[in-house]
Symmetry: C2
Subunit: 209 residues, 2 copies
DNA sequence: CCGTCACTAGACAGATCTGTCTAGTGACTC
DNA sequence: GAGTCACTAGACAGATCTGTCTAGTGACGG
C-alpha cells in the first residue's frame, strides 16, 4: 500500500533517511526531533502522524541499519562456495562496511549504550545479534567443528572487537585484522571425529566433559 | 591537601561515588545533576564548587573507572611469572570484572557512545585504551612474537568483544571464552626466528612484506 | 568572640526537548 | 465542483536540564 511512483520521496522516507544520518552520526539522545524534521524538510506533525513517537522512529532507524547489514553479509556469502569461505566471508563483508567512509562503530552497540537496559532498542539489537550468532553457529556446524557454539562465540568477539576498534581507535585496518584472527581460530578449532581422531586442536583443548 | 581523617566522607567523595553508581548503571545523558546530588546527599552548589560542571564530574567518574581497571590488571599480573602467563592474566583479570555482579559493559565504550566524537570523554577513553594496547604489545614483545603489534590488536578485539557480549547478550561466560580464544591466538602466532626457523604459524602467515 | 570554611536548602533563569493542536495548502478523484 | 488525503508552518504546553545565586548553618581555630 501507499506505493509512491513519482520521483519525490514521501515524508516517511525522508524522515527515515534524516534519522539514519543524524542518529548514526551524532547519537540518538543528542539529536532532537527538531533537527530531524529540519534535515528531512518535513513538518513536525508529519513525523508524529507517520511514526507516532521518537522512540518508534529510532526503532525504524535501527531496523533499517540491521537489514542493511544482513543484506550485505548475505550478498557476500552468496559468492562463497564452502562453509569455511562463508565464515570468513562474514568478516570480509564486515571489512567492506568498516572501511567505508563515515563508519562510526556498530549502531546497535551505540544505541544500546544510550538506552535503558530493557528498551525496544535493546530488543532490536538483541534480535540482530541473535541472527548473526545463529549464522556463525550454523556455518561452524556445516564445517564440522566439534563445538560450533563456542567457536561462533569467539568469532563474534572478533567481529564486535573490530567494529569497536574502528570507532574508538580509528583503526581502519581492524576488519582485515579480525579476518586474519578468525582464520587462525578456524584452523585451530577441533573437528568432530568421524571415525578416528581428527586433528585435536593445538593449544588447550576439551572443556570439562 | 584536604585530607579527611574523620569517618564522614567529604562532599567531593560522596559526589564521585554517586556519579560512579548512577552514570554507570543508567547512562550519562539520562542521569541529571539533580539525581546525582540527591543520591549523594549533597547540595547542588557543592557540586559546582568542587567539580565546576557536569562534564568535569563525568571526567572524574571515567578516570576513577579507568584507574580501577588498571589497578585490577596490575594486581593480577604481579602474581604471574612468564610473559605468556601475564598476557593471559589480562584476560583473567577481565573475567573477574565481567563475572562480578552489576557489570554492564565497558564504561568507556558506553560513555563514548553517548558523547560527541572529540569530547573530553573520548580523550580519557583513548588514553585508557592506549594504556591497555601498550601493555599487550609490550608483553607480546617479551614473549618473542614476530609481530607483537598485530597480536596485541587481535587480543584487544577479544577483550572488547567479551565485554560487549556481557552487556548485550548477558553472556556471563564471555570472559573465560575470550581467554581460551586468546590462548589459541598465542599458540598460533609466529615467533621471531633467532637462528633457524621457529614454528611458522599454522593457518595463513606472513603479511605482505 | 569572631572570622573562616565547607557545606546546605532551594529559588530562579534560560535553554531545550517531546508531543499536541490549529489552520491552511495543493493535488488528485469522483 | 466537492471531498479526501498527505502534508506544511508554527504556536503552544509541560516537563526537564544545567548552571547561578542568595541566605544561612555549624564546626573549628586563634
Amino acid at each position: 500500500m501507499t506505493a509512491r511512483t513519482a520521483a519525490k520521496p514521501s515524508a516517511r522516507v525522508r524522515l527515515l533517511e534524516a534519522a539514519d544520518e543524524l542518529f548514526y552520526n551524532e547519537g540518538i539522545q543528542t539529536v532532537g526531533i527538531d533537527r530531524v524534521i529540519e534535515h528531512a524538510g518535513v513538518a513536525k506533525a508529519s513525523l508524529y502522524n507517520t511514526y507516532g513517537s521518537k522512540e518508534q522512529l529510532v526503532g525504524a532507524y535501527l531496523e533499517l541499519r540491521g537489514s542493511r547489514v544482513r543484506d550485505r553479509i548475505n550478498r557476500v556469502l552468496e559468492s562463497r562456495a564452502t562453509p569455511r569461505e562463508r565464515l570468513l566471508g562474514v568478516f570480509e563483508a564486515q571489512s567492506e562496511a568498516l572501511t567505508s567512509s563515515g563508519y562510526h562503530g556498530c549502531p546497535f552497540v551505540r544505541a544500546t549504550a544510550e538506552a535503558p537496559e530493557d528498551s525496544s532498542i535493546s530488543r532490536i539489537a538483541h534480535d540482530h545479534r541473535a541472527w548473526l550468532r545463529g549464522l556463525l553457529t550454523g556455518l561452524a556446524t556445516e564445517c564440522g567443528y566439534a563445538d560450533p557454539g563456542s567457536l561462533a562465540r569467539q568469532l563474534h568477539f572478533l567481529y564486535d572487537g573490530a567494529a569497536n576498534a574502528v570507532r574508538m581507535d580509528k583503526d581502519s585496518g581492524a576488519g582485515a585484522a579480525a579476518r586474519e584472527a578468525a582464520a587462525v581460530l578456524l584452523a585451530a578449532a577441533p573437528l568432530t571425529e568421524p571415525g578416528g581422531a581428527a586433528r585435536p586442536a593445538p593449544g588447550m583443548a576439551a572443556q570439562t566433559p
